[in-house]
Symmetry: C2
Subunit: 459 residues, 2 copies
Amino acid sequence: MDLLQYLTVKNIDFLSKREDVIPYIRDASYFTGELPIAVVLPKNENEISEILTKCYEENIKVVARGGGTSLTGSSISLKGSVVISMLRLNRILEFSGGDRYVHVQAGVRIDDLNSYLQSKGFLYPPDPASSLASTVGGTISTNAGGLRGTYYGSTKEWILGLGIVLADGRIIRTGGKILKRSAGYDLTSLFVGAEGTLGIIFDAYLKIVPRIENFTRIMVFFRKAEDMGKAIYQIKERGLNPLSAEFTDKISMNIISRISGIPVPDGSEVLLIIDIPILSGNEYEKFIQIIKNSNPTGIKSLNAEESEVVYKARKGLYSSLLNEREREGEYIIIGDVVVPSSEVPEALNETRDLIEKFGLKISLFGHIGDGNIHANVFTNINSNEEMKKAEKFLEEFGDIALRHNGSVSAEHGIGFEKKELLIREFIYKKSIVNMEIMKSIKKILDPKNILNPGKVFDL
Amino acid sequence: MDLLQYLTVKNIDFLSKREDVIPYIRDASYFTGELPIAVVLPKNENEISEILTKCYEENIKVVARGGGTSLTGSSISLKGSVVISMLRLNRILEFSGGDRYVHVQAGVRIDDLNSYLQSKGFLYPPDPASSLASTVGGTISTNAGGLRGTYYGSTKEWILGLGIVLADGRIIRTGGKILKRSAGYDLTSLFVGAEGTLGIIFDAYLKIVPRIENFTRIMVFFRKAEDMGKAIYQIKERGLNPLSAEFTDKISMNIISRISGIPVPDGSEVLLIIDIPILSGNEYEKFIQIIKNSNPTGIKSLNAEESEVVYKARKGLYSSLLNEREREGEYIIIGDVVVPSSEVPEALNETRDLIEKFGLKISLFGHIGDGNIHANVFTNINSNEEMKKAEKFLEEFGDIALRHNGSVSAEHGIGFEKKELLIREFIYKKSIVNMEIMKSIKKILDPKNILNPGKVFDL
């Protein structure tokens, strides 16, 4: 029985017409995949198990897909693959504020989850800019970060347990609804950030926290990125914790100014948007004192309405930049490096020089509170020459991170895009053995290499 | 060349006389191991690498040992093994408050690390009761919890990167001095909680936080454990976060009262020691309101001096209980279960009934803020009958946790002691496949099964 017959017999919904499956060859990255045999729309883990049982038998590649918001090509379809859309697994199964967990299916969107939790006074901290569309399963699979990362850390810190369908269709559960556990190897963490190459996550127990409602959002403008970086470092050195600390360069600053109507002070080249938690009164004063001593060109404290508009404008920056494209075939390739806070000023200086050297149109922004810098490189993806130049830039941008004790991927994962960069990082860190170990683990859990093959690494 | 000759040639310090190595057949558990060939005292990772290279060639078992505070037999020596004492790797290598990390060797003791960090205004949160003696490497290897776990989580959430010597002597590094990373599988977490069965951790980048200095410690006495459990649940449900919340039964409460001189109100059977962070003024009021409505027999707010004495008495409870032994051969076997907060009241009731049924001398205490309950069972380890009874008790105690969505091991690891319980947990949770996966990973990283064999599981 061929796959489509099997799906029909099993009563599993699927799409297989060319026009229906073609959208799945793309995600939010600039990559184009190849046509899948089918896009299946399972309603539960048992259907996923049935799909994988068949695909395993028949050596059919499987690509799990949440919101399709990957910026590295993690979720694009592969030739002859089955795409498993997780969007029907969209139920919040259980919530317990006192136990501090929520149990959700993998296809629940992050913003939907947090709307629900907000009504209960709680929060699931991971907050990628794509949270409107990205899903629990997708963000777990890329260990997503986001705007609140500087205060709350990345996704990996919030996963208590997972439901997973293995390559051969077997269903396992790791962890559970408990806040601590020391019982064998940490299999939960193994699947976090694995980009669907080790198993398909169908549900998760997520740790939640009470919302911090009381904070002030301020915009701080600087002449020099270096001053902004030093300010953040001093804030953290003094033991202060911003709820979020976002920076942008001039291009992105102007977009936020345009959307919010908040004017940019003369001479400003860099914007910092910082959320200051109001716990005790004098914390705010400590923050402001450091900022005032950091040569700002202006400080603007936001009211509730401005606060909301600026937050949305920041979250929408990538989309806004896409709207700034002027040429046929132009796309944005996005770098995603991270360095320790103390290295941010120098890393930003070197990046500025690098941008000058390459003469590319690039906008920088990032979650500077945890040292995460994104370089948005405008590139005509149909031009070999431009693509090579962009890739060379991103390689050297990655090298800046490596020289400053950082990593080439902070929160977007590896996908198709950063496979070479990942190898580069392991070589730089004299840790190429880590790649061997990763491949060995892959072979245990996916012996036929059917799960999202060619993503993260090539076997 | 035999091992001892090799060590001599390589100029690696070791002990091999019977009287010198005999202390290493024990740790803080009731288990007795067997005589090792040698106890080596490496000064750095290169020496560890040389030791493992030789042991790998010669199929010699290797047991890494930190403070020897394991309660499950993780660190006892095995017949013909080499024990690697990590205590000479005791340097704090680098500290950066602004970058929020400290880089330390594995043999640094937790209290020494926190004394150092305190002088800088920072804290490494994991806080096992054994922190005076336990080490960074040992606590990582058991994913230790402790008193601050309810606020800060377990050890796994604080590990940014590791230096590891693999079974064959190769040295790898995972993660690093950055706060986020999405670059391949999470190899760091794989070694956390692996109890030295996958590699030897020689140093670590640890995430640190600013100290919260402003808190009030209160003792709350109750007639019923159930009321205490409900109070904690309500506290968490209302979005309040205690810095720690420790409970004890009457036996341990009386010890703390004796040490501190603080009297126990009439009719009290249970003690709760709770640290309330003073962030805004009214949080304290919210805490106290819930506690007052929970039928306490007394509430005692502690001054700075009492606070210190009570904290130390709580941390020293296990030692104090050991001092209460009255019979030849008597020891304490300690259960370490965890359940969600909402299940604590019922789990404690069932545990009380179980203790009555078995008629054993048992004291209960635990980190109740995260649902972790320890049962300290007084047992004559030379009596087969008593040992069987104690083991049967711990099995049923574990079953209570499993029925209430918990785990048989919260923070002590598996070691020798809980291997059967771990299998029981996987079977109960229909997750025995997880054990297969663990064993497959073990085979990748330790193909000759020389690293702490027979701990966690039997291959």
